[in-house]
């Protein structure tokens, strides 16, 4: 398959995504305007502001214009990355979101590495020893894992490992100590990271292990594996050199398509552990009725999901040329 067809595929997918992003933004606009009450009241919040200032703000935001004019202003603001100001911190929303991004990324990447590594190992082992105690346990855990509310899992881990055993801090990302060497600081953050990352990892591990197991079982039946076995290659080599790669590839795409669940999980987990990322920001924004932040988060997550889907599709097309032809 030529590179050109891959580029064409990517381009096609990109073009298809434009209306989705557009719609998310427009939906966002209309939701806030359908809301009961004056949009200006949402923007000012409880702040006591003189009537002239309100009128001034109204014309500045184009709220005295028609709904189409308002939509155009909103769209051009969003296109410039301008989501207004947070009621709570009074800082530009974009700035607030970007400042919280690193904490969330740290949590997500850590838990993914953990979940993927352990999940694939467990899945492959249980497929190799089908029906063994390990296999039954992995299957059971993956069913239970689906049913577990992630925030309750976090609360239980906190109760156990933080409250009862005192092994890990329950809240936050850093201790409130003033003097820490950089090395101490890294260890301190890692110490805080254990429980939230474990919570999310257990949640995702269940799905990954289940999929890795199913794929492995399927791949082990294919002709090239039978052929490899008939050549007299050791079972280990068959599993790890020939089957593993093909069995694990679909897992990648599932991870990509699951990004929505993951972000939801992150919001809930961050709320439990007061992890200062985007999830906690969302939670605080809800409690403070900080609408600009909420609106921006909705658009931000929407775009993130769309991009994740696109990347997943591209990886899939890259791995499997048949997709591009359709």
């Amino acid at each position: 398959m030529t590179a050109a067809s891959l580029y064409r595929y990517v381009l096609l997918r990109l073009v298809q995504l434009v209306p989705v992003v557009f719609l998310i933004i427009i939906l966002n606009f209309f939701l806030i305007r359908l809301a009961p009450g004056d949009p200006i009241a949402y923007i000012i919040g409880d702040a006591p502001i003189a009537d002239e200032l309100v009128a001034d703000l109204r014309s500045k935001l184009g709220l005295d214009g028609s709904i189409t004019q308002q939509l155009l202003i909103y769209l051009s603001n969003v296109a410039q990355g301008d989501f207004g100001f947070s009621y709570v911190s009074r800082a530009p929303v974009t700035e607030v979101i970007l400042s919280r991004l690193p904490a969330t990324l740290l949590l997500m990447i850590t838990q993914y590495v953990l979940a993927i590594a352990v999940g694939i190992v467990l899945g492959v082992l249980s497929a190799r020893h089908q029906g063994s105690a390990l296999d039954v346990t992995v299957t059971a855990v993956s069913v239970v894992g689906y049913a577990l509310p992630v925030f309750w899992l976090g609360q239980m881990l906190m109760l156990m490992f933080s409250m009862k055993l005192g092994l890990f801090p329950a809240q936050g990302m850093m201790s409130l100590r003033y003097s820490m060497t950089p090395v101490e600081k890294v260890f301190d953050i890692a110490h805080h990271l254990v429980l939230p990352a474990l919570t999310l990892a257990i949640f995702n591990l269940a799905l990954i292990a289940r999929l890795a197991r199913a794929n492995m079982l399927q791949v082990l039946r294919l002709e090239y594996i039978i052929f490899a076995r008939s050549k007299g290659i050791s079972e280990r080599a068959v599993v790890y050199r020939h089957a593993l790669r093909n069995a694990v590839l679909p897992v990648v795409t599932v991870i990509g398509l699951n990004i929505k669940t993951l972000i939801t999980g992150a919001v809930l987990t961050e709320t439990v552990f007061a992890w200062p990322g985007l999830g906690r920001l969302t939670f605080d924004a809800i409690n403070a009725r900080d609408y600009p932040v909420l609106m921006a988060m909705f658009v931000f997550v929407g775009i993130l999901v769309v991009i994740a889907n696109l990347i997943t599709d591209i990886i899939y097309a890259w791995l499997d040329p048949r997709i591009r032809l359709q």
Binding site: P19, P36, V143, V144, P149, L159, K260, T282, G302, V305
Partner: protein, 304 residues
């Protein structure tokens, strides 16, 4: 070849109605048999049935209602309060009963709504194909890509939390999956001989869709729908946990939200509501797994 492959779907007008009904009854019995063979699924069903009964009879078991203050605050579990009391002295066992009731109601009603929309859209798109299909599928895609949780959160935060609003939002967010599944089934079934035959007999489109294709296309929808009940329950709980649940309905999620501050002093406030939530979704997941195995037996072989 499994048994299911031998099912020749469809009933020509020539076959008598009673033999068609008998065939259907046999199929249901066989699926039921397969389902009960699966011990995990049966366990899930019993678990679920138990919780449904407890939830239904909540007003009889706990006549005080979920918001009544029945004891000292943060009392430990004991004979008087099986699950202890919360931070303002409400009985947690009572809260769990009513919370389960709310969870089940939200789960079932929102999925019924998703099924109603999804089946109509999926059937129309899959049966007619062409431009209608194209248009409907574009709309469906948008709903699928939408970050559901954030949309639900956003809508509930703006419009205020109300249990019917939550049901509506979850329903609106779930129909797309149903529609896509059903459409795919319809696409493969609509050219089958039994459909062509029905058409040749002059059957109306609506009759073909409802009487001929739908019964043969519904299995994956039932499985997906049952799983959606679990995810709808978890979504409602998550909204409650973030503090945007309906304040007039007891919710397991908002109980866990309240408990968050008291984890250190009172483990029971956080343990029992979460356990109930877990058992509820576990029961549904097991039943759904069992349905999947008995309705789509071929999938079981590959371990999915």
């Amino acid at each position: 070849m499994s048994e299911a492959d031998l099912d020749v779907p469809g009933t020509l007008p020539a076959t008598s109605a009673s033999s068609a009904a008998a065939a259907r009854r046999r199929r249901v019995m066989r699926n039921w048999h397969r389902f009960t063979m699966n011990r995990l699924a049966l366990f899930g069903l019993l678990l679920l049935a138990g919780m449904i009964i407890l939830a239904l009879f909540a007003p009889i078991i706990a006549p005080g209602g979920p918001f009544g203050i029945g004891g000292t605050r943060l009392a430990e579990p004991g004979a008087r309060h099986w699950f202890g009391t919360d931070h303002i002295g409400r009985d947690i066992f009572t809260g769990v009963l009513y919370g389960t009731r709310t969870s089940l109601m939200v789960g079932l009603l929102s999925v019924l709504m998703a099924l109603a929309i999804g089946i109509v859209v999926g059937a129309v798109a899959g049966y007619y194909g062409g431009r209608i299909d194209n248009l409907l599928m574009r709309v469906t895609e948008i709903f699928q890509v939408m970050p559901r949780f954030f949309l639900a959160l956003f809508v509930v935060a703006i419009f205020g939390a109300n249990i019917w609003g939550i049901v509506f939002v979850i329903g609106i967010l779930n129909w797309a999956e149903i529609a896509r599944l059903l459409r795919a089934e319809f696409l493969t079934l609509r050219e089958r001989p039994f459909v062509t035959a029905a058409r040749a007999y002059g059957a109306r489109d609506l009759d073909i869709i409802v009487m001929e294709i739908l019964p043969n296309a519904i299995s994956p929808v039932i499985v997906a729908g049952s799983l959606q009940v679990a995810s709808a329950i978890l979504l409602e709980a998550a909204l409650g946990f973030l503090g945007v649940g309906d304040p007039n309905e007891m919710s397991l999620g908002s109980m866990l939200n309240n408990a968050q501050q008291y984890i250190r002093q009172a483990w029971w406030t956080v343990t029992f509501p979460g356990l109930a939530l877990c058992l509820l979704t576990l029961g549904i997941a097991l039943v759904s797994d069992g349905l999947n195995d008995s309705l789509n037996p071929r999938l079981k072989e590959v371990g999915l």
